[in-house]
Amino acid sequence: MIELPSYREQAPDVAAHHAEIRERPVVMTVGSVGRVFDSPQGPITALANIEFEVHRREFISVIGPSGCGKSTLIRIVAGLESCTEGAVLIDGHPVVGPGPDRGMVFQSYTLFPWLTVLRNVMFGPSMKGVPRARAEQQALEWLRVVGLSKFAEHYPNQLSGGMKQRVAIARALANEPRILLMDEPFGALDAQTRCNMQAHLLQICASVDVTVMFITHDLDEAIYLSDRIVVLGAHPGRVLEIIEVPVPRPRSAEQFLSGPFLATKARLEELIHGHAAAEETLAAE
């Protein structure tokens, strides 16, 4: 057994990075959000008292076992569902419905098939009434950011899954959202493409002023991409711990085997699988 450092141990530069993030203004507040569903068997609490803040340009992941309500949480933030308790605040204003200040990238491919790649990216700005020439120019710029300038005139069904999701990211970013919500965006991709997309997303986040809330069930993905990880437990969905990732930036694939990375992963395993196991024994009793 290899001796791992504690996941709480941070190198000085990492500690400074986290301290600097905490100094930044708060973009989003999830204030004791709860969600209760009615079912024939009585009310079911999907989320209970979820509470955290996201700072500007922070990359925050939400991770947890299936059924912990992480998708429900991001849909509440997006305004696609409502919470039964608490509130989500964006720059201090409560969320009441979907809006362009919270761009969303879905797990399923949601590019509009009848629009070319360029027109898909122009969709948000044109809803706001941005003049066409300017919207087009901006859209081309965003396509360059995601590396798809050559495919501007293609239709989505001519693109691979990874390319579709890159266009979806560009489309969401074109609205210049306060926060980019990503609901397992790489879940449907094969391992290789997924790896490339993660590297690509790191690159985008380094070059663009964007705050990200990222839902995943992949531990490596969460550690590789995030500044902080919100770990949810299931039944009811609640925050088990919020981990500051001790892996220094810039991130690279070599870090997957570094001490801080493995220590964080061990802790995540313990939280998620340990809890799942404990719950199973509880249920058995």
Partner: protein, 373 residues
């Protein structure tokens, strides 16, 4: 020795070749190009061959006898009424001949024939031409091309008005639950009332002209259209609508910029099917009030017992329907380029106008390979 070699290897080779060929019966598998073409032709050739066999091979059916010469009509008897040109049952013909034989008079002559309502293929084929060239038998009747044109006008107007109202109503019902609840229960109730029952009412209210006929087509297609279009609209992927919402589209923009374009290809297919229904209501519509159009033509020809013309008319309706549908299907490929991979209608037309030039439109359309990585 040589002979045994051949006999050993020949079946193996044949088997190998057979394995390469695509099987004709295979669940949910497309046919080979050749089998596809051949079976498509057979779909029409087989019924035609059956019809030819029934018409030209006397032993198969031919239950009647076409009398050429009735023999001596002065001989009294039960069957003395037969005359030249009549089609009579074979028992009648044989009975008459028995009577003539008993009187030792010359026998009646005739050949076996089919009933008049089953004309031979060549008669129908020539009716295709003669039906157009023969003038109306009564003053006030119409030439065939006039009848056909009149029918097409009725169909077009009825269908046009029905879609003009039905598409917006269907879209609203499929998008907003409020409209669905307000409109669909009543529409669902009315659609069970057969359109023809409104015939008399339509004539009473709108008179004897084309209006009641257009109304029947409208009633026949509108209520179905609302429900079909509402369902098609409802089947638009909800994730697309949610994506539109998170991109800042308001209600009106969601409807016009997301729901409508997303539903459009399926709506187009719905309309092609609904147009077929319009044709089925046509015959009813044309026979109420003052008979008109192709149905009046068919009705007249049937009364004159020109069954070859009746068949020609029926086949013409089928052909008009099939050709319209094929043209619409062909156009659809260019209307919805994202589904077919074809250039858009606008680009296709532009490319037609400038066939030699390599305009940017033609470049982008031809160089759009599908990418896989």
């Amino acid at each position: 020795m040589n002979g045994t070699d051949v006999s050993v290897f020949a079946p193996v080779k044949a088997g190998a070749r057979r394995r390469q060929r695509k099987p004709l019966l295979s669940v949910r598998n497309p046919l080979s190009t050749r089998a596809h073409a051949v079976s498509g032709v057979l779909a029409f050739v087989v019924p035609l061959v059956l019809w030819c066999l029934l018409s030209y091979v006397p032993v198969l059916w031919h239950p009647l006898v076409l009398v050429e010469d009735p023999g001596d009509s002065s001989v009294p008897g039960q069957y003395a009424y037969i005359a030249a040109g009549q089609r009579v049952d074979r028992e009648v013909f044989d009975g008459r001949n028995a009577e003539l034989a008993a009187a030792s008079r010359p026998l009646a002559r005739g050949e076996r024939a089919n009933p008049i309502f089953l004309p031979a293929p060549h008669e129908v084929a020539s009716a295709f031409y003669t039906a157009f060239t023969s003038p109306p038998e009564r003053t006030g009747d119409f030439w065939l091309h006039e009848s056909l044109w009149h029918s097409c006008t009725i169909i077009f107007l009825g269908f046009f008005y029905s879609m003009l109202v039905g598409i917006p109503v269907g879209l609203l019902c499929g998008t907003f639950s409020l409209f669905s609840r307000l409109i669909e229960p009543f529409v669902d109730f009315v659609r069970y009332m057969p359109a023809p029952v409104f015939g008399a009412l339509a004539v009473a209210v709108l008179g004897l002209g084309d209006e009641p006929k257009i109304t029947i087509i409208f009633i026949g297609t509108f209520f179905q259209a609302v429900l079909v279009i509402a369902n098609t609209t409802r089947s638009v992927d909800f994730a697309l609508i949610q994506a539109g919402q998170t991109l800042g589209a308001n209600h009106r923009q969601l409807l016009t910029r997301v729901v409508v374009p997303a539903a459009l290809p399926a709506l187009y297919r719905d309309m092609r099917i609904l147009l077929g229904w319009a044709w089925t209501y046509l015959v009813v519509a044309e026979l109420i009030g003052e008979k008109s159009g192709i149905s009046a033509f068919l009705y007249q020809q049937q009364r004159y017992r020109h069954f070859e013309n009746v068949y020609a008319g029926i086949v013409m309706i089928g052909m008009i329907g099939l050709i319209t549908d094929q043209v619409l299907a062909f156009l659809g490929q260019y209307l919805f380029p994202w589904e077919s991979g074809k250039p858009s209608l606008l680009r296709a037309l532009r490319a037609l106008r400038r066939p030699a030039s390599t305009s940017d439109a033609t470049v982008t359309t031809s160089s759009s390979p599908s990418v896989s990585s």
